[in-house]
């Protein structure tokens, strides 16, 4: 047993209202740069729907993830090492930028600078690839809230697996939101696909990162990831991906997407797992057995043997303690959380609590009591369509675990209603789903009212190392890397690295002038970090000669 710690996330889909705040704040923090205009490290897709990039779940087309060979081992779906090198000059599985969408901006300038005309000026969309006028025809959320789904829904790879009549019924029956980030898999196929060895899994917390110094732009990770969560920066020619906001995690802060989630549906914590058994678990024969195999390699942090092995594996004491308090471990124990597409055999570590609300909506809509346990259980049994769809997403098609999770959520709903309305703790409801009343209340606490410290249990990187964190050879702190802008002598990506913490003059200047708007002398407020007084942002000073103390010259003269 080799115990390793993994930083992971669970999202409670019942609470997601599809507001995209996570996507927007993530974009502001990480991909608000040219070259990654089309990139959303965090995106929220409406399901059923085609997702982003379009139809990414169709692995017959994209060749992402692993498959099991006849000999019982796993290999990369799009071919092993030799096959990868043979296709290095042109990767046949690489999504084009139009599979995501063509990024654009508007010439907002025209709204105020257009010459006097009879018509009201409009801001036309301009392609960020060519700078020319374009017709916007797709984006990351084109089918948001099922908009236009009558036309596009047939392209949903999950629906394609289900029967025709199901498809027709879908739109009125069922809809939910699926926020997605990088899965930070235990068995990452992007890492395995990288010819340069630039992608790696951090030994301390399992976060999967791209070393920007070592990436050579071979593009195999982009096609190797079945979730399509590694992106190609078309300006710098390097791969970029969700970093699990590791600079924040290291100091004990939640990721930006979690921090800003208005539904408070995200949980962060570490789990301990047995690294020696990952390959074995990823190669079990049956796709539907993968969920259990993954649950099996995740270790109980309260087990003395595990604690012993964790200490032997140099996992710090406070990390073991954090693993014991981890909401992730608790939600996995309740078996209400499920991984996204375990059949890709990457052992993803961002899990989801499937949404019960579509079921409740149907029950309530039919005039029945949406919080009565028996009605809900019956509805879960009867509503095979949403259950089947959820099973295709979370359990490789096996409805039993989805069923069990939804029943527990339904039981919790009824049990808590009993407490609130009738002042009665009905143990039978809890027992029907194999839990005790106390357990249900505990789960309710975690799902409904858990505070910040309970939702995000993040052991910080160690204080004795903290001085180095700021200045570590961060894989992102480059010209053109996240958070920076500007160009070096060999195109947009070149030049030496600049320390993260040092706000030097050039960096500030770059940031204030990068992505400059079409009219000079104006500042892109999205890029402005609040430092300095860029031209055109403030009205001319009326203060006259201001001294560093802020006092006026003549004040002193008087005093």
């Amino acid at each position: 047993m080799r115990v390793m710690a993994q930083m992971s996330m669970i999202m409670n889909l019942d609470k997601c209202i599809g507001c995209h705040t996570c996507s927007v704040t993530c974009k502001q923090a990480w991909t608000n740069r040219s070259g990654v205009e089309y990139v959303w490290f965090n995106n929220v897709e409406t399901r059923p729907g085609v997702g982003y990039p379009r139809g990414y779940e169709d692995q017959d087309k994209w060749g992402g993830g692993w498959v099991r060979t006849k000999r019982g081992r796993i290999k990369l779906r799009s071919g092993g090492r030799l096959a990868k090198l043979a296709r290095i000059f042109s990767n046949p599985n690489l999504p084009g930028i139009h599979d995501y969408y063509e990024p654009w901006t508007y010439d907002y300038d025209m709204l105020i600078n257009a010459p006097r005309t009879a018509q009201t000026p409009v801001a036309r969309p301009k392609s960020l690839l060519t700078g020319e006028d374009m017709k916007i025809s797709w984006s990351a959320n084109w089918d948001d809230d099922l908009g236009g789904s009558l036309e596009t829904m047939q392209q949903d790879p999950i629906l394609a697996k289900m029967s025709e009549e199901v498809k027709a019924e879908f739109e009125k029956a069922f809809m939910f939101y699926l926020p997605r980030i990088c899965e930070h898999c235990l068995n990452p196929s992007c890492v395995a696909s990288c010819p340069s060895g630039a992608m790696y899994k951090r030994a301390e917390d399992g976060i999967v990162l791209v070393d920007q110094d070592q990436c050579r732009g071979w593009r195999m990770c982009v096609s190797g990831c079945p979730y399509k969560k590694v992106y190609f920066n078309h300006r710098t020619g390097k791969a970029e991906k969700c970093t699990f906001c590791y600079p924040r995690i290291e100091v004990g802060l939640p990721t930006v997407c979690s921090e800003t989630c208005v539904g408070r549906l995200r949980y962060l914590g570490i789990v301990l797992y047995d690294a020696d058994r990952v390959a074995e678990a990823a190669s079990v024969e049956d796709d539907t057995a993968l969920l259990q195999a993954q649950r099996d390699i995740i270790l109980d942090p309260n087990d003395p043997a595990v604690i012993e092995a964790a200490r032997a594996g140099d996992i710090p004491e406070d990390w073991i303690e954090a693993a014991q308090r981890s909401p992730i471990w608790k939600l996995m124990q309740y078996e209400v959380a499920l991984p996204l597409h375990p059949e890709y055999r990457t052992m993803p570590m961002v899990w989801y609590i499937p949404p019960l609300s579509p079921v409740v909506d149907v029950v309530t809509g039919s005039g029945n009591d949406g919080e009565d346990a028996r009605t809900l259980f019956a509805a879960i049994d009867k509503l095979r369509i949403p259950i089947g769809y959820l099973a295709e997403l979370f359990t490789a098609g096996d409805v039993a675990p989805v069923d069990a999770a939804l029943r527990r959520l339904a039981a919790m709903r009824s049990y808590m209603r009993g407490i609130n309305l009738d002042d009665e703790r009905d143990e039978r409801i809890a027992n029907a789903v194999g839990m005790s009343g106390a357990e249900i209340e505990e789960m309710y606490r975690l799902l409904a009212i858990a505070k910040y410290e309970e939702r995000y249990v993040i052991p910080s990187a160690h204080t004795e190392q903290a001085h180095a964190l700021e200045e570590m050879a961060c894989s992102l702190d480059f010209e053109g890397g996240p958070g920076m802008g500007g160009a070096g002598p060999f195109g947009s990506s070149s030049g030496q690295s600049v320390p993260v913490a040092v706000e030097n003059f050039h960096m500030l200047q770059n940031r204030q002038t990068a992505d400059r708007p079409s009219s000079p002398g104006r500042v892109n407020l999205l890029n402005w970090d609040g430092n300095g007084t860029p031209d055109g942002l403030f009205p001319p000073s009326t203060m006259g000669d201001v001294r560093p103390t802020g006092k006026r010259k003549d004040d002193k003269d008087k005093g």
Binding site: M472, A473, S493
Partner: protein, 252 residues
Amino acid sequence: MTALQIVLWVAVPYAAIAVFIVGHIWRYRYDKFGWTTRSSQTYENRLLRWGSPMFHIGILMVIAGHVVGLLIPREWLYAIGITEGIYHLGATGLGSFAAALTLAGLAILVYRRRTVGPVFLATTVMDKVMYVFLAVTLGFGTLATVFYQLLGPGFHYRETISPWIRSILIFQPDVALMAEVPLLFQLHVLSAFALFALWPFTRLVHVFSAPVGYLFRPYIVYRSRDAVRGARKPRRGWDPVQQPNPQRLHGL
């Protein structure tokens, strides 16, 4: 041996080689982040799907041919039974095929670069300069092969250019060997050295990143945060805090 000859066949090659070597070291130290293929496949794949493999496989064949023709003395080849006739047939036949493949691939790629909007906008000045020198080198080489080897009587570069190259590499340059070489070959050699001098400052550096190590490493790469941190020497004033070593006190 005129001064011009010495400049052309001693000074220029050594200067180019020096720039090539020092340039790569400098670029690697200064600009690891810019060391990339700068692939434009995400913009356009229909043309690239053909052009890129054609060009790359062709140029790899061309390089292999040059290694055999220039660096390996013909006596060695005779020794393993490759006679002049077999060599000529192989070199001219395979060489012409490789040249055709490379040039066709390059033509597709240049056409693509010029006509596909996003690709054209992503082209740097260095890219354009590099394309000129690459195309000129390939062009002279192909012309020389066509005129002398295919249509003409055949020029025995293994008696002149090859020993000269080897004389350069062992630091005993023999200028006289290049004096009588036909102009097309001379131009090919000179443009190639110009390309070498340019090499470290272009995207061609990706040649030295050919991911051969991928064949031998385990699939999943783990790295420690500490190891990453140590990859760069801490700047002055950011040294890790360390406990004073009491041994040093006792040593006083």
